[in-house]
């Protein structure tokens, strides 16, 4: 698989200069995962950054006395996890594939090193992750509004 072409095809990386794209390509590889594969495990070191190119992944949290709760699902074009960017670099949740899934898998340790060494590269990547974090925060806020609950109009 042409990693550079695969990276260029992802909206997440749109606008990143060619030089940084080549660096990203050098840090990543294509991954395929069967249904039921665990991509993240809570408390495990966050060694990889996944950008999903197909399939579906569920992000799950263990809640004592309630069991495992699915927080959200992630699909094509969506990054999985940002704990690799934030100390102590450990996953906070579990993630498991719900169907055969493909992803671009990046070496997070090396990415962090490269981001530290080249702040322009770090900025390019971090601003995109922040955008994703903002979207997820908005989504969680919308979920917490329980917009489909009562009261509501009779019209619909």
């Amino acid at each position: 698989m042409d990693m550079l072409a695969a990276i260029k095809a992802e909206p997440f990386f749109e606008g990143i200069p060619e030089k940084e794209l080549a660096l990203l390509a050098d840090c990543g590889e294509a991954g395929t995962f069967p249904t039921g594969a665990w991509l993240l495990r809570q408390h495990a070191p966050a060694k990889h950054f996944y950008l999903l190119t197909g399939g579906l992944v569920e992000l799950k949290a263990f809640v004592p006395q309630r069991g495992v709760v699915t927080l959200e699902t992630l699909g094509v074009h969506e990054p999985l996890g940002w704990s690799w960017l934030v100390p102590p670099y450990q996953w906070h949740y579990d993630a498991r594939t719900l169907e055969p899934t493909t992803a671009l898998v990046f070496d997070a340790v090396r990415l962090r090193h490269e981001m530290e060494a080249d702040h322009e590269f770090g900025f390019q990547l971090q601003r995109r992750v922040i955008d994703i974090m903002a979207q997820r925060l908005q989504a969680i806020r919308m979920q917490s509004l329980d917009v489909y609950g009562l009261p509501g109009g009779a019209f619909l």
């Binding site: 909206p11 579906l56 569920e58 069991g67 699915t70 927080l71 959200e72 699902t73 699909g75 094509v76 074009h77 969506e78 719900l98 979207q135 908005q138 989504a139 919308m142 979920q143 509004l145 329980d146 917009v147 489909y148 609950g149 009562l150 009261p151 509501g152 109009g153 009779a154 019209f155 619909l156």
Partner: protein, 282 residues
Amino acid sequence: MSAPASQPLDPMIPRQFRIEEAFAEVGSGEVYSWRLSPLDGEPLRFAPGQFNMLYQFGIGEVPISISGDAEAAGLVHTLRAVGGVTKAMQKLEAGEVIGVRGPFGTAWPVAEAEGQDLVLVAGGIGLAPLRPAVYCALRHRDRFNRVFLLYGTRQPEDILFREELEHWRAQLDLDVYVTVDRGGPGWHGNVGVVTKLIARGGFDPANTVAMACGPEVMMRFAVMALQKHGVAAERIYVSMERNMKCAIGYCGHCQYGPHFICKDGPVFRFDTLQPIFDVREL
């Protein structure tokens, strides 16, 4: 595409319709549907997106979108028992007679999407007013490019028209995605807000007509997601809801800025609403 809507002789006088069938759509029947037939035998023709005023004699009248197929026989409404009238209506059974005024209001511009991608975004019971547009797109499937139905609701047991959704999803020429805010142990589908389904894309934003229906806050986020994805405001349509009474623009109960929802809406092109959308005083 669909027959021209009926013009009521006197829009304030209800026609009598018999409930041929009354059935629960989800759970214990909080959301229910009626299949109605006119006592006078004259079918009520409507366009997808329009609504009727349904009158339970002696109780009251409510505006309810039509949820059935505009090109099929029979009139179908889907209601949620949420207020005094719709809770009373929930107790009505097959054979009983109600009053119907309508159809009223603007329609989903399904024909405008011909030759383009059609993206339908529904939230909760907002799937009911969009269903006639789905039927229309399916009946004339060859006239559109890709057709997406993106549906979000609270939890798996609240999924409206579940059997139909499963049937539509099995069709190879219709992209149906369903998500719930809260999944349960038996749920293996998408979890998250419906706007995330928009972000996954698959449609050509420059050649897309999008229609959104659901709680207003959900539509706000849906419109934001569509615009972020590149769909222009003049290509997005939303269905608005306000307190409608007369349904013909006289009483003013449903005034929304310079518009009357009953007469100028409920379906609006988003750019016509953009300046007042989300204005708290309205």
